[in-house]
Assembly symmetry: C2
């Protein structure tokens, strides 16, 4: 049993999520306990730099070169903070798994660009500041064996949530929805993971448009509206919904532009719009996961959408045969889960064990992920 | 004794230098033999992509993301080529040390940018294609302990060339001149390395200007001219010459613009200009290394300048007390040396041993360099 830290900095730019765990074993024998979790928010100046580095128009090689080191320093600071909060000496951390900040991701070749991914946050800097081993750049190796480099968390979900004899469906509802199917066989090779379609993205865009609010808190507006069947039918006819997995989607499919086109074409009350968009997320999830319901099945919902009771009750109505739980009811919070995953993946890498799930990423084979920077 | 490969792709963009060696031991007990060396030139389309990625105006995050993987594939191809040429199975290579293509280097903080360096050429791709361990990103760790990330070859020069009881001065003459001092004490801590000033850069610019030729082949033009003492005095008064080490310079100090200003101010025959520029390189080298001449001293010259007899004879005249040799006379060719260095550094990293030389880079301490991607 050693101390390890996982660091995740997502594309939502909410900040740096850091999980301090104790961990032992490897593969399906891995044991992990979350000891401390915290998020270090980005300062506005850093956010500005990241946004520029993400932008095709504003990014350049000098900004990326410098930001790589600047983020390395911040990730290190975030690790030091969590250790302090937990009252442990950072030098007692056996290793850090750092996802890095994704600047760009090209899941499949799109000429003239090859399939590739770019995460930054210099591991050498983290290594020196924490005085410990750092594992980084997890996604590149999956792509080197033909995978899409995403999703990256399924292996750790398998380790953390797999329960023999029970089918567990881990449904994350962030901007986009994605599901990981943990089969009752308990076999890694039978795992499946893909994006189910929109998560909160359309609801959020509607809330900004109608109410100048970031999101529909507690599903308040959706609960007051009525689902418009015609709009719902049109939404469910979106080609992504019936597309076979493995598949990934993003804000470019269901974001601002998509919502604007709905607002232009359809005339509904704000509440009815919200109710219908919420039902679209519920129905698209139900449609996506129905083929995987066999025998005892638990649907475990995480992400921002798990705090929306209107959405949850719609999902429950669509899937009466499964027990619907939220992430916190069976263990880690949604926000901690991804950071914990980075510690689990780093633990695998250090023991020369695999970390990707080919049935989820489309990779030709399972491989160890990441590069190791030894102190 | 295992097979290892070093891969170097320099800023001159000549191509990918690959050295296949057998190697054993570590630190000062390292034994290295060069088995095969070759250079894979870049295709014009690749050169174009690298030039864009290097450019502040044309680079962007998408180009860099994709090029990282594209160069990884090319580096892997270059390794496969050299193995084939040597008749060995690439899977028998124990590890590859890959320098990567430098896209940007900020040796010291220059606000708003922090000290940082960016090399690309995805190690995960090389790892998968060669089916072996890859060590990469050597410079970052030196910078994480306050070094300038350059020069990177002194540790390997120490391993390859150090000879107890003899002071060896390894003078490389590329565009810029740089020297590594291997003290007769044989102690790593006494090593010094720095840029001496211009190498061939001024001579080359003059040749392009006067003769539309890339360089003064065999020192042909310089040999026909007479050194202009007034111009030479002005050149030797350049502030870089007397600046104390550690110090680095580049084309920005002695390149096109500097040469243009000389051409504007001075009226000399082309031959006299060449003779004076050649003498400037010789004198600046002599001035830089004179303080390190103690007892038996060998000056070992490598790089393009070592093939210019006019320059060599000027250096010999300036330093009658040292024996001047060229790189090939004592072992590896200049071009192979940097690639061999990458194999030496990777060997150190894999054995958790140091790879930087603090007295050369300015780092606070000696550390292992690079990240390891295990197959």
């Amino acid at each position: 049993m050693v101390y390890a830290v996982g660091v995740m900095s997502g594309t939502s730019l909410d900040g740096i999520d850091v999980a301090l765990v104790d961990i032992s074993g490897k593969d399906e024998m891995t044991k992990v306990n979350l000891l401390e979790f915290s998020t270090l928010p980005f300062k506005e100046t850093t956010l500005q730099k990241i946004r520029e580095a993400l932008s095709l128009e504003k990014s350049d090689v000098e900004k990326i070169c410098s930001l790589n080191v600047e983020l390395g320093e911040l990730f290190a600071q975030a690790v030091l903070n969590v250790c302090k909060k937990a009252g442990i000496n950072s030098e007692d951390v056996a290793f850090v798994g750092s996802h890095g900040q994704t600047l760009f991701h090209i899941p499949v070749e799109r000429k003239p660009f090859v399939a590739s991914t770019l995460q930054i946050g210099d591991p050498a800097v983290i290594c020196e500041r924490i005085k410990t081993t750092v594992v980084s750049n997890f996604r590149e190796r999956d792509m080197a064996v033909g995978g899409q480099g995403a999703p990256i968390v399924p292996y750790s979900e398998y380790v953390l949530y797999q329960k023999k004899g029970v089918t567990r469906l881990l449904q994350n509802i962030g901007g986009i929805g994605n599901v990981t199917v943990l089969p009752k066989s308990g076999k890694l090779a039978d795992m499946i993971a893909f994006d189910t379609g929109p998560g909160n993205v359309i609801m959020n865009e509607l809330c900004v448009h109608f109410f100048n609010q970031e999101y529909d808190e507690n599903g308040f507006y959706a609960a007051q509206g009525t689902v418009d069947q015609a709009l719902l039918d049109e939404l469910m006819a979106h080609p992504y919904i019936k597309k076979p997995y493995p598949k990934t989607t993003g804000r470019e499919d269901f974001g601002k532009q998509f919502t604007a086109s709905l607002l232009e074409k359809w005339t509904l009350t704000p509440q009815d719009f919200l109710a219908t968009a919420t039902m679209f997320t519920a129905k698209s999830i139900a449609f996506a996961i129905r083929p995987f319901i066999h025998g005892q099945t638990e649907l475990i919902i995480g992400g921002g959408g798990s705090y929306n009771p209107t959405l949850l009750s719609m999902i429950k109505r669509e899937l009466p045969e499964v027990s619907v739980l939220i992430q916190e009811e069976i263990g880690f919070s949604s926000e901690a889960k991804e950071a914990i995953s980075m510690a689990v993946l780093a633990n695998q890498t250090i023991q020369h064990s695999i970390g990707n799930v080919p049935s989820a990423t489309g990779a030709k084979r399972a491989v160890p992920l990441g590069s190791i920077t030894y102190y």
